[in-house]
Symmetry: C2
Subunit: 375 residues, 2 copies
């Protein structure tokens, strides 16, 4: 995956070209993870203990006795830059959509461990007081944030709206959300200890790019004849398509609980695309027999970035926003529960004994154990 | 408080000159608070309920049955700009200090409602991958964060380290922390319903400016002959003095609990300085008989910004970082408990029946009901 930079129009545009250099970030991440791991024992002073298996998972879990406590902080990333540019081009505010994206980043991670999200806190750090002077944009942000909380039935506890001139770029905003939830009853905890051969892989549909891969999607604009206003389908621009808000999956995981279905494991398909299906630390083979329909915007990106399927599926969600690993006997019912919540789903494959790899049979792609390094 | 801008060297430098215009931010804040308040009822769907009195307090509280859950997100603000400038001037990294400040912003707010902080999540959003390439600075950030977690005996659950080129300014970092805690036993909840006449006001010492008022402190540098390297005391520069890390008060509130002292109310003295003593919504008179020693850096700022006491105490903590409102009979013991944790404290005054105001007798200052509008 290390290639010459400066891609021409004819070359593949991969994530490495898009300006995020994980080689620089990873040493800090590793140091932070080690230091963080050493603090888990502090909980004993308060009569509690961490669920150590949650380290390296998408949310951190503490055993507080009658239930587990789960918490997380997540940021939107660079999708706000697309909203800002589309506002410039169309005059419309897209902040209601990216508010939902921001909450989705936190909620969809929190639910992977089996938690019911209860409280969201807003972190909206602007490049100066002036940002808040655009009342239409500010109201759109509030309205979208509220609507996403309503969809997920979480309480919006409050938050922080600092004006950080000199730290956040002038005219921009850094959007993030923290989320706290409970895993109750405790049997709902899903950190993967029950995942095993025979389990089915159910994929929940995405609405588009969600909020991962935006650096590449923004880079691609340079290649498009009309930039963000290039049509991906008649009357539907690239910019609009990118800004479809991320699906909120907590209504599905809550409905699964009420239907008596307890996932053995969950993976939120975000950065690293389908390689996130390899998230669980154990050695299993994940065999995909059916792939979901690819949203037009992702097919469009794949074509214009000249990515082969391997590159595309290792970068984008390609139509699968969230993966549930459930008992085979419950897979079809899980699909029905998701669809009753308005989220398309399919039984895409299964887990089997074997070397750690992901095999996407319909596309002839394999990702091995070395494809995803998160721990 | 609205004066002509463009202060000359002879003029008072007030917070309004420092570039944060609350008139622009407040309409969004009000809209967000209203929308947020309407989401509290969602908790019933999960069998829980919000503690409505916590809306408008420093942390949001949910009744989850056996105990209360408290959560918050807070940011450092512009203190990182001081650290960056001091690094340029001295070659030393100050990120261990501002890591502690960031955690203090969250922890010191969370404990006001009676919570034991359990989990901190790190939010470190850099202006690009390059930020993380400075290994010394990155390691200082990790080390300071870890040490603050150790001091507060909280678990560092994880976090987010995005590279946000185009959103966060090049070479800068936006530092924030979210924190989750429990209020257990439930009697520890302190949202002020027991606050009343006769209660003592115990003030816990600050270490300096903490992380509030930095916009003004940075603006002041323009007036100083040697900028950040101007001495506030022999061998002790203004920049160093500003970067003294914020005191972490959770060891004190935990020790108070173990000593059987339950504050009726707490106020974290941050933005708006001593006006935060008026935080509680009820009408009481707060009478201060003794003021703590003013840290040299704050006395220095007051002098060079040509602020009178009224302006200084309405902007900075002036030596009081945290206020405990306790039964009069427990006040002296509360002081001893704090001092046993290494935090200087004094019984500064008391609450009495009367119009809502703060009277700082030794300085001849009063702040009325209109001095603080947070709700």
């Amino acid at each position: 995956m290390t290639r010459a930079v400066s891609p021409s129009d004819a070359a593949t545009l991969s994530y490495e070209h898009a300006g995020v250099d994980y080689d620089l970030i990873d040493p800090l991440k590793v140091a932070a993870q080690r230091a963080a791991a050493a603090t888990g024992t502090h909980l004993a002073a308060h009569g509690f203990r961490e669920v150590t298996a949650s380290r390296g998972e998408s949310a951190y879990v503490v055993d507080v006795g009658p239930f587990y406590l789960a918490s997380i902080v997540e940021c939107l990333g660079s999708k706000a830059l697309v909203a800002d540019e589309m506002h410039r081009l169309t005059g419309k505010s897209w902040y209601d959509s990216i508010a939902q994206d921001t909450i989705a980043m936190a909620i969809n991670d929190l639910i992977t461990v089996g938690a019911t999200p209860l409280v969201v806190q807003a972190y909206w750090a602007a490049g100066g007081s002036d940002w808040f002077g655009d009342a239409e944009r500010a109201q759109a942000l509030v309205a979208g944030w509220k609507r996403a909380c309503d969809t997920c039935r979480v309480a919006w506890g409050g938050g922080e709206t600092p004006a950080l001139a000199g730290i956040v770029a002038d005219g921009r905003i850094d959007l993030a959300a923290s989320c706290t939830g409970l895993i109750s009853p405790k049997e709902r905890l899903s950190v993967g200890d029950e995942l095993g051969p025979g389990d089915a892989i159910v994929l929940l549909a995405s609405s588009g790019i969600h909020a991962n891969g935006l650096s590449l999607a923004r880079k691609l604009v340079e290649r498009l004849p009309q930039g963000y206003l290039t049509e991906v389908a008649p009357g539907f621009t690239y910019g609009e398509a990118l800004l479809a808000p991320t699906v909120l999956y907590s209504p599905v995981t809550e409905a699964l609980h009420h239907a008596g279905i307890r996932p053995h494991y969950c993976a939120n398909i975000t950065g690293h695309g389908w390689r996130k299906l390899l998230r669980h630390p154990a050695a299993h083979t994940y065999r995909i027999k059916h792939v979901p329909e690819v949203p037009p915007v992702l097919r469009f990106i794949q074509q214009h970035a000249r990515q082969d399927d391997r590159e595309a599926y290792s970068t984008f969600n390609m139509g699968a926003g969230f993966a549930l690993f459930v008992k085979a006997a419950e897979a079809q019912k899980a699909v029905e529960v998701a669809q009753a919540q308005g989220v398309a789903a399919l039984v895409a494959g299964h887990v089997e004994a074997g070397a750690k790899k992901l095999v996407i049979e319909p596309l002839g792609i394999e990702f091995g154990d070395d494809a995803l390094k998160l721990r």
